[in-house]
């Protein structure tokens, strides 16, 4: 992979989850691993405990966004990747736990611009107290999550906007296949 240039693309990776709630820490932990690997120019990695409103200002500055999160609806350890579309109905009744699709709806409503967005998630098995320590099942999901991210930041992979200029992103499961 070209580690020095993304051809002008700007990509944001956001790992989120509570670091003290067992497998919920997988998003921040994968983000930490990516930071340690070193990212190409144009790729920014951040960690968040929770998703909050000011992230909207960051999202609209990027062409592609990859969220990393834990999931509960699937087989333990299963890693999935899906594209996300704006969804205002995903609105939270509170302000300190926003859904990524709600943030995208904020982007669309306020800035008329939505980055191409993917959610890479791994199904956890325990969300009890533990500080940045995953269950073995979740630990094993880290490498497949990293594979997904590597594909999603690969400059040879076209953005949806490269193929369909002006098209709104649509929500799909597993848009890319790991070879």
């Amino acid at each position: 992979m070209d580690r020095t240039s993304m051809g002008g693309r700007k990509i944001l990776i956001i790992g989120y989850g509570s670091p003290i709630r067992g497998d919920d820490a997988i998003g921040p932990l994968v983000a930490d691993r990516l930071q340690a690997e070193g990212m190409p120019e144009g790729v920014e990695v951040i960690s968040r405990h929770i998703l909050t409103a000011e992230l909207v200002a960051d999202l609209v500055e990027h062409d592609r966004v990859v969220f990393l999160d834990a999931a509960v609806d699937g087989a333990p350890g299963e890693v999935r990747c899906r594209s996300l579309a704006p969804d205002a109905s995903a609105m939270s009744t509170m302000a300190h736990f926003l859904d990524p699709r709600e943030l995208l709806a904020w982007c669309e409503t306020l800035y008329d611009k939505v980055p191409e967005t993917f959610l890479v998630s791994a199904c956890g098995t325990s969300f009890d107290y533990s500080n940045y320590v995953l269950t073995p099942t979740a630990e094993a999901a880290i490498e497949p999550m990293l594979d997904w991210v590597r594909r999603l930041i690969d400059p040879s992979e076209p953005l949806a906007s490269d193929q369909l200029p002006g098209a709104s992103p649509r929500e799909t499961e597993t848009p890319l296949r790991i070879p």
Binding site: P28, T52, A53, T93
Partner: protein
């Protein structure tokens, strides 16, 4: 026949709560209660931990105000160490606290309360949300996002770590500020202050439209408690306790925060997991007081920065005399404090000593008891620890801003319900006003749900007709 109206969940607040309105035979409100329905018990599970873990542990209390808990906890640890932290370390702590106040107040005003303020309490609930605000006034919504981003950026720049920074430590802060970081933060100040002043000017045009709500939203005689500086100025990090009564007379002044137990008692009720603090000399429940932005501005003689002092003078004109009584004006006070926070951060960042390398005092524990008091965005925050010879925590008491306001919130709901709720013709706008008075206080229930001794708890089992068939009661 009496009826009960339940509003659950209460929306656009932090945490989970329920409001119960008990209606009498003719539909009038007989009773009103605000229930905190979640239980977390931080005070209990901190026991046995080394005191140096407390800042990191208590920061987990909340995703919105971890910085406030980190500061109060570290101040309690400073007390355990018996050290005086270096002046530059204190200034840096002040900056991160002001950044926290900026971002938290921005969240409250722009994202939680602006749908009511901009669209009206009687507007269609389907669009009475942040998306409605974005459509109605996109510039305001963008300002809200940017102001929060500025506050969070300063917290991250100082704290370094993105999740739960550990930069604030017992004795000061772990690393001095670099010139590069100082300059980057200073660059944000003019834009932040422009947004704050613009929003304040806009809000002043809204205030006259809400005269009726202002007269019924917790417009009640209570005392006000906050920190003030030794000069009686606005103070968010240190200083002394001041308590004023409803007429503006100072009842307690320049009380060292370590003596808080002389002033504050705590009661519990069986309908909520939140404690009910009260002013001890007046007893429970008569000793009702309010904390937070409204209390802080009511208590101070001046803010101490140019624009905020002008805004403070205008704030006092909301009422002919005495402390501003209506809880509706928490919104106003929040905007004045955002202006102050940005002005003060700029002043501190330009301080010639802000880049000094000496930022931390080092010591081991020298006392068995430590108390840390600071002003969180929602009001005064108290951390009180006891440790053993090994430095392990044996007892913890946390008194959270939202808890201080608990009695006032319950009284405010009753007032709004009396004014707006007609039990024979319930309308959404009436119930929204009941919720909205709680939003004035901007309660953070995540922080406020803690153990205090054995929590009395009643569980009622009702059959399909609503008849209570069994009750389990503890405490």
């Amino acid at each position: 026949m009496s009826r009960t109206v339940i509003i659950e969940p209460v929306t656009r607040i932090e945490g989970h709560a329920r409001i119960t309105l008990q209606l009498g035979d003719t539909g009038e409100v007989e009773d009103a209660k605000f229930h905190l329905t979640q239980f977390r018990g931080f005070e209990k599970f901190c026991e046995g931990r080394p005191y140096r873990e407390m800042p990191a542990l208590t920061a987990r209390t909340c995703g919105i105000c971890p910085v406030s808990h980190v500061l109060a906890s570290n101040k309690a640890c400073d007390h355990l160490l018996s050290v005086s932290i270096p002046p530059t370390g204190e200034k840096l702590r002040r900056i991160i606290n002001l950044a926290q106040i900026t971002q938290s107040h921005a969240l409250s005003f722009f994202h939680l309360s602006s749908p009511d303020l901009l669209l009206g309490w009687d507007s269609d609930p389907v669009s009475r949300n942040i998306f409605g605000v974005m459509r109605q006034d996109p510039a305001l919504a963008k300002d809200g996002i940017r102001l929060r981003q500025i506050g969070q950026t300063i917290i991250e720049t100082l704290g370094g770590k993105k999740i739960h920074p550990t930069w604030v430590v017992p004795g000061g802060v772990s690393e001095p500020l670099t010139q590069e970081k100082r300059d980057a933060m200073l660059k944000l100040m003019p834009e932040g202050l422009d947004i704050a002043k613009r929003t304040y000017a806009f809000f002043k045009t809204l205030v006259p439209k809400f005269k009726d709500e202002a007269s019924h939203f917790g417009n009640q005689p209570t005392m006000f408690l906050s920190l003030v500086s030794p000069k009686g100025h606005l103070e968010h990090y240190d200083g002394f306790l001041r308590l004023k009564d409803a007429q503006g007379r100072i009842l307690e002044d320049m009380v060292p925060p370590h003596e808080y137990e002389r002033l504050i008692g705590e009661a519990v009720e069986d309908f909520s997991y939140m404690k009910f603090p009260y002013y001890k000399p007046q007893g429970y429940p008569k000793g009702i007081y309010r904390v937070g932005p409204l209390a802080r501005l009511n208590n101070v003689d001046a803010c101490g920065t140019p624009y905020a002092d002008v805004a403070l003078a205008e704030f006092h004109m909301l009422q002919e005399s005495g402390p501003i009584a209506s809880s509706f004006h928490y919104h106003y006070a929040r905007l004045v404090e955002i202006i102050y926070a940005l002005e003060m951060m700029e002043r501190l960042l330009k301080d010639p000593t802000i880049l000094d390398a000496r930022v931390r005092a080092r010591a081991r524990s020298n006392r068995y008891e430590g108390i840390g008091v600071t002003e969180a965005p929602r009001g005064i925050l108290m951390h009180h620890y006891r440790i053993d010879d090994e430095g392990l925590i044996t007892w913890v008491n946390l008194i959270i801003a939202t808890g201080h306001n608990n009695l006032a919130m319950n009284q405010s709901i009753r007032q709004v319900a009396d004014a707006y709720v007609d039990g024979n013709n319930l309308q959404e706008g009436m119930l929204n006003r009941v919720e909205a008075v709680i939003r004035c206080f901007d309660p953070c229930l995540s922080c406020a749900s803690h153990a205090f001794g054995e929590m009395p708890l009643a569980i009622e089992l009702k059959d399909a007709t609503g008849r209570v068939v069994d009750t389990l009661r503890r405490g």
